[in-house]
């Protein structure tokens, strides 16, 4: 931990000096994403899955479904449960054990995107009202943390849901069918450093910035979730600027990768 911090002090200077010249370490512009690739159905045993690569960051999301009891206040709706595992193979700073607050925040922001955008038609997942509904488990597995795993995880979650087949036959509930999806939420994250806003931060860029803002937007260009993270401050104008760019970026990503 302390060793990486010493290096990052030196890198911090380097990144900062580049930034003054309007450049980023890997030559991207400030609002440019790294190369994105999404492979769906990579896990045959899962009802839906997606392997997302965002530059060198790799995140695998698996969706499993099973019948279960609905929540009392929503007897006619399916249930979504999102979990994230920051497994220690993904980064020298991840440790085995129960999820820490970083992992919890990640899972809850991914969940917020899926839930608040109403991406999944939960009413269609009711089997017996008040008794039995489909439960969707979205499990996020971070494989390689090279920065901005939140956007990658969110992308993986919706990509996996888009390819999810409800395993009705396995539970004697008729034929399998595609999970009904109504929206495609996209999370876009920017960091603020010295009044410069950088989208899709790499791991070193994340280390120098102490403020991060994630905007989740829906297909109609509305915002369905945000999360500020880190110990810095943001001006309202900076927030609005991030929203403008975030909605644009989200549209590009959605059209290119998820709307077939």
């Amino acid at each position: 931990m302390s060793v990486t911090n010493v290096i990052s002090e030196i890198k911090k200077d380097f990144i900062f000096n580049l930034l003054l010249k309007g450049e980023r370490v890997d030559g991207r512009t400030f609002d440019q994403y790294r190369e994105i690739s999404i492979q769906r159905d990579v896990i045959r045993k899962a009802e839906g899955s997606a392997l997302v690569k965002l530059g060198s960051s790799q995140v695998l999301v698996g969706v499993k479904m099973q019948p279960g009891e609905p929540f009392q206040d929503t007897p006619n709706k399916g249930v979504i449960i999102t979990n994230a595992e920051l497994v220690p193979l993904a980064s020298p700073s991840f440790e085995p054990g129960p999820p820490n607050e970083m992992g919890i925040e990640l899972a809850r922001v991914v969940d917020r995107g899926v839930r608040e955008s109403k991406a999944v038609d939960l009413e269609a997942l009711c089997i017996v009202p008040g008794k039995q509904v489909w439960i969707i488990f979205i499990d996020v597995h971070i494989l390689d943390d090279c920065g901005n795993i939140l956007d990658a995880a969110s992308l993986g979650a919706i990509a996996a849901l888009l390819s999810t087949k409800v395993p009705a036959a396995r539970f004697g509930l008729g034929e399998d069918y595609n999970l009904p999806i109504r929206d495609i939420p996209i999370a876009t994250t920017a960091i603020e450093f010295n009044d410069v806003l950088m989208f899709d931060p790499g791991v070193d860029e994340e280390a120098i910035a102490n403020t991060r803002l994630t905007i989740i937007s829906t297909m109609n260009g509305n915002i369905c979730g945000t999360q500020k993270s880190g110990t810095g401050m943001l001006k309202p104008e900076q927030i609005y600027r991030i929203i403008d760019i975030a909605c644009e970026k989200a549209k590009e990503i959605r059209e290119k990768f998820l709307e077939a």
Binding site: E101, E116, S229, C247
Partner: protein, 251 residues
């Protein structure tokens, strides 16, 4: 979270008689706990929240200590009886996330570099919940930090805005939060620097901007109340103990 057809407005006013841009009644008391270094009790509408600050003090476990600054810990905890359906005691994922973002809402103003190798502990207990517990907690915690004499650049004040029946409203109460279309809590400094920003629900970019502006207006009002509460306590103390202005007296 069902969008039931309940009406949120009667004759242009909200269910509890407030205007769209009006806060619920706020009551702030400073120094309510004898053992804590600083404390604050706050009521915001139906929320009853108490915050205590301990420190700067020695860090346990020691490996958490930082050589150049104090660390800040923030524990948001809900009493089991604070909500309709009994909450299972102890931290859950929600409270851990709220603890993280609340800590990050306060840390930017705390002069942690004054106290290397130490910890500033903030404990927030929600005794009664009625939508907006995280904002109430942050408001109480900021006052408790000041009460503990922790050096800070400025106050932090927190407030939420929401959207119900396509209208942006300030400081949503339980019904508006449960059945509303969006919730957007912020925390900010008196200069207008945002230290916490979360949102869920659905807002157009334009509505988002209006909600932020409205929440900031609420936060500015709360700032005045926080300030008043602190001034009141400390001016009383000076009257009671003439010549001992600089001594931290535990009453």
């Amino acid at each position: 979270m069902d969008e039931t057809d309940i009406s949120f407005f009667k004759d242009g006013l909200r269910l509890d008689g407030r205007r769209a841009d009006q806060l619920r009644p706020v009551k702030i008391e400073v120094g309510v706990l004898a053992r804590a270094d600083g404390s604050c009790y706050i009521e915001m509408g139906g929320n009853k929240v108490i915050a205590a600050v301990y420190g700067p003090r020695e860090v346990h476990p020691r490996h958490l200590q930082e050589a150049t600054r104090a660390i800040v810990r923030y524990r948001y905890n809900m009493a089991s009886f604070s909500v309709e359906d009994r909450k299972r005691p102890g931290p859950d994922r929600r409270s851990q996330e709220l603890s993280k973002v609340s800590r990050e809402a306060l840390e930017p103003v705390i002069l942690t570099s004054f106290f290397p190798r130490s910890v500033i502990d903030v404990f927030v207990e929600v005794l009664q919940a009625d939508a907006g517990t995280r904002t109430a907690g942050i408001n109480a915690a900021a006052v408790a930090l000041a009460d503990a004499g922790i050096p800070m650049k400025c106050m932090v004040s927190s407030c939420a805005a929401g959207k119900v029946a396509d209208t942006i409203v300030l400081d949503p109460m339980k019904e508006e939060d449960n059945f509303g279309q969006a919730d957007l809590p912020i925390a900010m400094t008196p200069n207008g620097d945002i230290t916490l920003l979360q949102m869920d629900g659905g807002l157009t970019p334009d509505e988002f901007e209006r909600a932020v502006e409205m929440a900031m207006k609420g936060a500015r009002e709360i700032y005045e109340l926080q300030r008043q509460a602190l001034v009141e306590k400390y001016s009383q103390m000076i009257e009671q103990h003439p010549g001992r202005e600089e001594v931290h007296v535990c009453d």
